[in-house]
Structures are given as structure tokens and as C-alpha cells.
């Protein structure tokens, strides 16, 4: 039994290390200052970059956060603190279903709602699609971390004469904040790599995308586009983009781990 578990662990670690190693090997050569600061160049020209994709991904995540965080957070607070029987059950069920919907379906829905009527692809539509994907994760994470806050803290606050909402805002949420923030960060990191919905909503852009109503480049879509193109130079850039994306996701996970590794909200 022990040997089997050791073998499984070694396999998992091995895969991760292999992926990292392969990406680094393939993509490191294309990583340069140019990569981070220049726009893509036409095929054949050297020195292109993915600056617009980086900025584009950032803008998309910003919109996603604006959509996903309030809804997810407040929904989670509602479920954890004001658990109201049937309504709570419905909300939780809906969130779970939303979580299971394939991202491409979300994408095509947003396409139908926000792209077709307005006649063009936009950062806004892409961000909204990502935000919708974020909601269930943010909601569940918030709820879980709030539930981890022991009832004794709520009791203490109520016994001092604090009304329910004060207890939630000034005791429960601060106590669970560390976990909630990391949960939100992780859910953002998750949607950072979603590609399918962006294909219908933000599309892509070889240039800067001013404002919010234009199509925009993003890291995942660029990886997709460059990887299947027949140009070696683009292949390298795709690897580099993949490496950057992986670094972002890994970074978010490491930050989350460090943040949660501090004092927990539970009492000794």
C-alpha cells in the first residue's frame, strides 16, 4: 500500500515538473523585454511581443472581478449568515449548476446577449463572460470560509447587544477575510486561463484595444492562435505566453498558500 501511494505521489510530482520543465525549455528563449512591451509584429519580422495580450487579460480580469466578486461574495455571505431555508437551497443549487455549465456555453450565451445586438466584440463582453464563470466559485468559497468562523464568535457578538448585520460585518467577515480573499484570488486565477468564452466575446486584436468596447487580445487566445499557426517564431511566443500564464496561476496559488498559512480564525 505504501509503495502504491509513493508511486502515485511521485507520478503527480513528476508530471508537474515535466510540464514546467518543458514549458521553460520551449518558452524561455522567447521571453525578453520585447515580449512584455511590444505589440505583435507581422509574420517574418523579429522582435514582436504580447504586450497587448497582457494588458488585455488584465482588463478582462478587472471586468470579471467587478462582476464576479460582489455577486459571489454577497451571495456567499447570504448563504452563510442568513440561511433562509428554501431560498438558500435554490441559490446554492443554482450556483452548483452554473459551476457545471461548460465555459463555451457561457461564452456563446454572452455572445448572443452582448455581441450580436451591439454588432461587435468587446472587452466588456469577455469580462462579463469570465465574471459569470467566477461567480459560483467565489460564492462557494466565501460561504465555506464564513462557515469556518466558529459560532462562538457570533454568540459573543450577539450577547454584547450587536444586531445580526453588525455581527456579520464587524466580526464574522473580518474573521474569515483571509480565507475569502484567497478564495477570490484563486477564482480569478482560474478564469484567467479560460479560452473558449473569449473566442466569442473578446475575440482578439493585433493592436491595442482602447476603452472597453473593442475586441481585445488576451493571453489564452494568443496561445491558441499562435500555437496552431505555421510559423516557428509564433510557436516560441506561444510557449512563452503559456509560461507567463502558468507563472501567474502558480504565483496566485503560492500567495494563497502563504496567506492562509498564517494564524487561522479558529481558536485553540
Amino acid at each position: 500500500m505504501f509503495a502504491a501511494t509513493v508511486a502515485a505521489t511521485a507520478t503527480v510530482l513528476g508530471i508537474l515538473l515535466f510540464l514546467l520543465g518543458y514549458l521553460v525549455w520551449q518558452g524561455a528563449s522567447a521571453l525578453s523585454l520585447d515580449f512584455f512591451t511590444h505589440l505583435p509584429t507581422p509574420v517574418g519580422e523579429a522582435g514582436g511581443g504580447m504586450a497587448n495580450a497582457l494588458v488585455g487579460s488584465a482588463k478582462l480580469l478587472l471586468v470579471a472581478a467587478v462582476v464576479g466578486v460582489p455577486v459571489g461574495f454577497l451571495g456567499g455571505v447570504y448563504l452563510a449568515e442568513y440561511d433562509g431555508g428554501r431560498v438558500a437551497f435554490a441559490v446554492r443549487y443554482a450556483a452548483d449548476v452554473l459551476n457545471g455549465i461548460p465555459s463555451i456555453v457561457i461564452g456563446i450565451t454572452v455572445y448572443g446577449l452582448l455581441v450580436v445586438p451591439f454588432g461587435h466584440f468587446s472587452t466588456l463582453a469577455g469580462g462579463i463572460a469570465l465574471g459569470l464563470l467566477m461567480i459560483p466559485v467565489a460564492l462557494r468559497t466565501t460561504e465555506e470560509f464564513l462557515r469556518l468562523v466558529p459560532d462562538t464568535l457570533r454568540d459573543a457578538s450577539l450577547a454584547l447587544g450587536a444586531p445580526q448585520w453588525v455581527t456579520v460585518v464587524r466580526v464574522v467577515i473580518p474573521a474569515g477575510m483571509r480565507g475569502i480573499l484567497t478564495g477570490l484570488l484563486l477564482s480569478l486565477a482560474r478564469v484567467a486561463g479560460e479560452t473558449a468564452p473569449l473566442l466569442f466575446t473578446a475575440l482578439s486584436n493585433r493592436y491595442w484595444s482602447p476603452g472597453w468596447l473593442q475586441p481585445t487580445a488576451s493571453l489564452p487566445v494568443m496561445i491558441f492562435t499562435y500555437a496552431i499557426a505555421p510559423y516557428d517564431d509564433w510557436h516560441h511566443q506561444a510557449w512563452a505566453a503559456a509560461l507567463v500564464l502558468l507563472a501567474i496561476v502558480l504565483g496566485a496559488n503560492v500567495v494563497a498558500r502563504l496567506a492562509l498559512g498564517g494564524r487561522s480564525t479558529a481558536q485553540t
Binding site: T152, D155, A156, A159, L160, G161, V171, P174, A175, Q267
Partner: protein
Amino acid sequence: MNMASSTLATAEVSSAKIVVRDLTVRYGSTLALDRVALDVGDRQVTALIGPSGCGKSTFLRCLNRMNDHIRNIRIEGSVSLDGVSIYDAAVDPVELRRRVGMVFQKSNPFPKSIFDNVAFGPRVHGLRDRVELREIVERSLRQAALWDEVKDRLDRSALDLSGGQQQRLCIARALAVEPDVLLMDEPASALDPIATAKIEELIHELKTQYTIVIVTHNMQQAARVSDTTAYFYLGRLVEVGPTEQIFTNPSRPETEDYVTGRFG
């Protein structure tokens, strides 16, 4: 919560701080308290003893309406504080809980600084002035016999304190809103003998100013600390009387069986 209050909302002539009559509590179909009648004397310590599940904690939580939040609870009968029924529609439970404070079995300081813990209650009730808050915090910590130990580290986290210190902090926190009554639910059960002794000493000092009701499963503690002792069994109040009498010559054989260790 479904509640049928009795008509006992007018003042009764008595020196009792809290008057309970016919208190019956049900969780769904389970009967937790059965027609309990008890007077809690002003500025005295009343101890509630009895085996686990006898209803003493449920009774305690009725006194500050902490049971309101429990699903499927039905409360009948009357509980009056200074002659006014606390379950009256006009009574604000928030204000009630300022007057009737509570300390719990396991100390539960907020994960904030010591200062913020004690100042929490006054702040919630609208006090913002920093100077006044500081005064209240110091006074409460002195009353809880904790000031000397923490006065140099009020900004440090409350979770750094030892178990006994945390419990005294919770007492200070409860005292900060200047209640009339202090309810204590097995306050020392998680503490070592020295910390327990400090809490008991504290209770002796506090009772000159506050009315205290303490639930304890430790009979000797009830004997040491209280003026009046009430014995609960299976939701009924079996006997209540001066502590000395309960422990030397109780009236009911059930009480005597319990205090002498004849648990059957």
C-alpha cells in the same frame, strides 16, 4: 420562534432582579424546560446546577433572549427584568443584551486586539470618542482583574493570551457595556485550578455591583461561589434555596441525591 407571552408584564413588588414564572421551552417536540419559576436576587450570585441536559443552559439563554435565534423554538411563560417582561413586543433584544451580558464556556475573544475586543460593545452601541473608550477599556479590564497583565500590550492580539486570561478578557468585554446582570455559562470549566480560582475570586468582587447567574456542573464551585443554588433535573426546577442549606440540608430527596453523589 413562536411565543405566547403571559400577562405578567407589570412590576411585581420584590427585590428580585429577574422574575421567571411558568417558563416552558420546547425545541420542536422536545420539552427542554417545564414550568420553571425562579427569582434571581439583585446583586447576588445564583448558581444553576444539575446533570447534563437538564435545561440549565437553556434557562440561562432565555434570560437574554439568546434562544431567539434557534430554529423551531417555542417559549411560553414570563421572564421579567426589573418588573418588565423581556419578551414584550416593545422590548428590543439588542438593548436587553446590553443590560444582560453573557460569558461563555469556552472563551471566545474576537481575533482582534485586546483593546478592540473590550471596546467592541461600546462601539456597537454608538460610542466613538477615543478618550472615553480608553477609559472604559481600562475600567473594564481592572474590574476583570486583567489590567495589570495587559496594560502594556493592548494593541496585541487577544489570541496571544492564555486560556484564563482570555476568559477574563471576555468578562471585561461583557462588563464594558455596563450591564446590570451577568450570565455565566460554565465560565471556568475549560480552565486549570489556578485560573478557576481567579475567576471565582472575580465573581466575589463583581457581585457587589452586578447580579450574576452562573451555570456550573461543578457542585463544589457552586457551593463556593453562590448565595442561592437552584437544582434542575430533566427540565424541571427541583429545588432552589440558600446555598448553605442546599448543601447541608436540602428539602428534596432528589436534590440530596444529586449533591451527595447518588446518581443512581
